[in-house]
């Protein structure tokens, strides 16, 4: 994985010193809170409902066991013994203090980590495929491009105060695991017929209150001109993006207002003047960065069949082990190796994506022992050990079970993506975590979950949609009505190559109605599905009507009962 050179290290160290001074000016009152706010946000520090929250960047999701140990120590020393992995390949601490933050950032800098631009109206942490470099369906390893873009965007002066936050995703595999089209800019890497690395650029995607999928605005852009092209694109957005209304300030609104063709034309017009400049990446820069993303020292192994792997387990454990292999172990480019997803979604206990200090330390050991000391954070709030020998899967599984990160629910209904919601976030209109917990408790039967197959269920506590509810097959959105927490259901959302935005099915529900509503929707799927048909396929075949009817069934029956009681009372024969 990437190693800082003296430039990276100096920059991060000096950033810590800069922030230490800014915090001290805030604390002595010479820097007003309103003016400190964008500064602290660009250093990852939010003010939440109860305390400060620090969001630490894990660029393109890749980190080391050593870094995870530091993250664990920070959670122990400065927080309440846990951290929260987010959909944006960051980790958040929910209970830090302003005074401690410079020290935390200094601890992070020692292990080549930072919180730069994890928040604020600037270019955010760049996300990518958690299986980069190992996925069987990969045609370009996106990591060198991600790292070059990380450097280019870090403390970029012209784009430090954009109209709103700005998110890049980079994909280089056949299957999109980055939700590419829901980013301000999606960069799809390809090799052209001359085997040269090029990029297709999608712009204007995003979730939030106006979910829009990005549009293709540029094809076959040579990789090395990405900085000049993106400068042109951001310059158009910086100059003409709306600033009068927070909710209309994202680039998606500008692209929609101009139309993708006109937006592309304006970017092209700007780019014309800078495309041959020395902002572009050089081959020397590529070489320096790419040398860190070579393959680890794989052994020459013979690939095992699924049956051979399952045979590693004792008779009593074979069924459970096979289930874990099926859901949580992915194919790999190298014979004899696999990638393992550690589920951070144990049923009904903690928030999706939460990990305790002890778990972090234990997972770091697992990474050292089984996966060349490297880890990845996924968009679905799980962790990945990318390079595990097939022959060691059984012993790894037993260790993972001990750490409670071996639940075989990856991609299943209880692998819920959820934001921290009203329990922590001051933006939230409603809680997310108790809803996730209630659904996990309701669907606690692993056999049943397996039978249901792949279904994504995403929960957001407010319209900002940090829980990505728009792209969940089933989406749950917390809404506020007259000071009360309600939940709106969307159906038909999808991430991946067939990305789609879910549709709201109708009026919202109370929190305690949600498990029944989900059950009724799922029962409809079970009743209507053809053999091997996934939830989303059934939904696409039948449309919303039968699911909607099922979702509101209980509500209608309750209303009917109430009417009957009312009638009896009116008739004077209530007992």
């Amino acid at each position: 994985m990437y190693k800082y050179d003296h430039i990276d290290q100096t920059l991060v160290d000096q950033r810590v010193a800069q922030f230490r001074d800014q915090v001290s000016r805030r604390l002595n009152g010479t820097l007003a809170e309103e003016e400190f706010r964008p500064i602290r946000l660009q250093n990852g520090l939010y003010h939440q409902r109860h305390a400060f929250m620090l969001r630490v960047a894990i660029p393109y999701g890749l980190f080391s066991a050593k870094q995870l140990r530091t993250l664990a120590l920070i959670s122990e020393k400065y927080d309440r013994g846990y951290g929260h992995f987010t959909t944006r390949q960051n980790i958040q601490y929910n209970w830090v203090t302003l005074e401690d933050t410079p020290d935390i950032l200094a601890e992070l800098a020692k292990v080549e980590m930072h919180a730069i631009q994890t928040s604020g109206n600037c270019i955010r942490n760049i996300t990518s495929d958690a299986f980069a470099g190992v996925a069987g369906d990969e045609y370009v390893d996106p990591r060198p491009v991600c790292e070059l873009l990380r450097q280019w965007s870090t403390l970029h002066p012209e784009f430090a105060h954009l109209p709103r936050k700005f998110k890049f995703a980079v994909n280089g595999a056949k299957e999109d695991r980055t939700v590419l089209l829901c980013h301000d800019v999606g960069i799809e890497l390809k090799k052209n017929t001359n085997n040269e690395l090029t990029a297709d650029i999608y712009a204007g995607g995003g979730m939030g209150r106006t979910p829009i999928l990005g549009s293709l605005i540029k094809q076959d852009l040579p990789w090395h001109v990405l900085p000049s092209y993106l400068t042109a694109l951001l310059r158009v957005y910086n100059r003409f993006g709306r600033r009068d209304n927070l909710y209309k300030a994202r680039i998606k609104i500008l692209v929609k207002a101009l139309g993708p063709e006109e937006f592309a034309r304006q970017v092209e017009g700007e780019w014309l003047h800078i495309k041959n400049g020395d902002d572009n990446f050089t081959q020397a820069e590529w070489n320096r960065v790419a040398q860190h993303f070579t393959k680890p020292a794989y052994k020459s192994l013979t690939a095992l069949s699924a049956a051979q792997v399952i045979d590693l387990a004792t008779e009593a454990e074979k069924a459970a082990f096979a289930r874990w292999i099926e859901r949580n172990v992915k194919s790999h480019q190298v014979p004899g190796y696999t990638s393992v997803i550690l589920s951070l979604k144990p049923h009904g206990t903690v928030a999706p994506g939460d990990v305790t200090t002890a778990q972090m330390l234990a997972i770091a050991d697992l990474a050292d022992q089984y996966s060349f000391g490297e880890l990845r954070a996924t968009h679905e709030q799980n962790l990945v050990l990318a390079d595990v020998e097939q022959s060691k899967l059984y012993e790894l599984w037993q260790e993972a079970k001990r750490q409670k990160v071996a639940l075989p629910n990856v991609g299943l209904l209880t692998d819920i993506i959820a934001c921290p919601g009203g329990d922590f976030c001051s933006l939230a209109n409603a809680k997310s975590l108790p809803i996730a917990k209630a659904i996990q408790e309701r669907f606690d039967d692993l056999d049943y979950l397996f039978d249901l197959g792949g279904i994504s269920l995403n929960i957001s506590g407010c319209i900002n949609s940090c829980g990505h509810h728009h792209v969940g097959n089933i989406g749950v959105l917390g809404v506020d009505k007259d000071g009360e927490e309600w939940y709106q259901i969307t159906l038909g959302g999808e991430q991946g190559n067939d990305a789609a935005i879910g549709k709201v099915i109708g009026p919202s529900f109370y929190a305690d109605e949600i498990p029944n509503v989900i059950t009724n929707i799922i029962n409809t799927y079970v009743k209507e599905r053809t053999e091997d048909e996934s939830f989303i396929s059934t939904y696409r075949r039948l449309g919303v009507a039968p699911f909607k009817e099922a979702a509101y069934k209980d509500k209608l029956e309750n209303a009917k009962k109430k009417d009957e009681v009312g009638d009896k009372v009116a008739a004077g024969d209530a007992s």
Partner: protein, 195 residues
């Protein structure tokens, strides 16, 4: 410390002293010789250059309308007029006028209505990179200590800070970073610079 230029409501206020940071030079305090006229004066004319000050930065929109007038040209030729760009001035649409203005204006400025509105960063970058402006560009408006570094890197070389900002702290901002990871008006990114 906080002497202010707020004598007239039609002027954009700032600290009495400005920070000058020429490219290749060192940041230092300097006297502020320029009034920044908001353009809001009822008569539609410049402030009285005889009594208030001898030099004025006028809104670019005013220049667009009045630059043909003899008295405007006379003052401009005398080095008494510069222009400032509002955040929504599309300078690229007026590239020819800016080209012509190079012979008159000793400096131009770009305005920050609030410190977190970054449009004028792009204005300065375009003035330097595209329009070839090579004289002074001043940051005016809601200019705070913590935006100076960004301003200095996109192309600003003088800074009229808000009146309540501590100029001594301001002067220390420019050498916080000894490395960069992208090119700026002041130099190449560290990796290219060291090669």
């Amino acid at each position: 410390m906080s002497n202010t230029n707020t004598s007239s409501a039609h002027l954009i206020a700032s600290h009495q002293e400005i920070v000058h940071f020429p490219k290749g030079g060192k940041p230092a305090l300097a006297a502020n010789e320029w009034l920044v006229w908001s353009g809001s004066q009822d008569e539609g004319g410049l402030p009285d250059l005889e009594h208030e000050a001898h030099k004025v930065l006028a809104p670019f929109t005013w220049w667009i309308e009045r630059h043909h007038e003899a008295d405007v040209i006379a003052k401009a030729k005398n080095g008494q007029i510069g222009v400032w760009f509002a955040t929504d001035d599309d300078i690229l649409k007026h590239a020819e006028l800016i080209e012509a203005g190079k012979q008159y204006w000793p400096l131009v400025a770009a305005y920050f209505p609030i410190f977190r509105d970054g449009r004028s960063f792009s204005t300065a970058a375009l003035l330097r990179d595209r329009l070839g402006w090579n004289k002074e560009i001043r940051m005016i408006g809601d200019v705070l200590i913590d935006q100076l570094l960004q301003g200095a890197r996109v192309g600003f070389d003088s800074f009229a800070l808000r009146h309540d900002q501590d100029l001594n702290v301001a002067l220390q901002q420019f050498d916080l970073f000894s490395v960069t990871t992208q090119n700026s008006w002041r130099g190449k990114r560290s990796l290219l610079a060291t090669n």
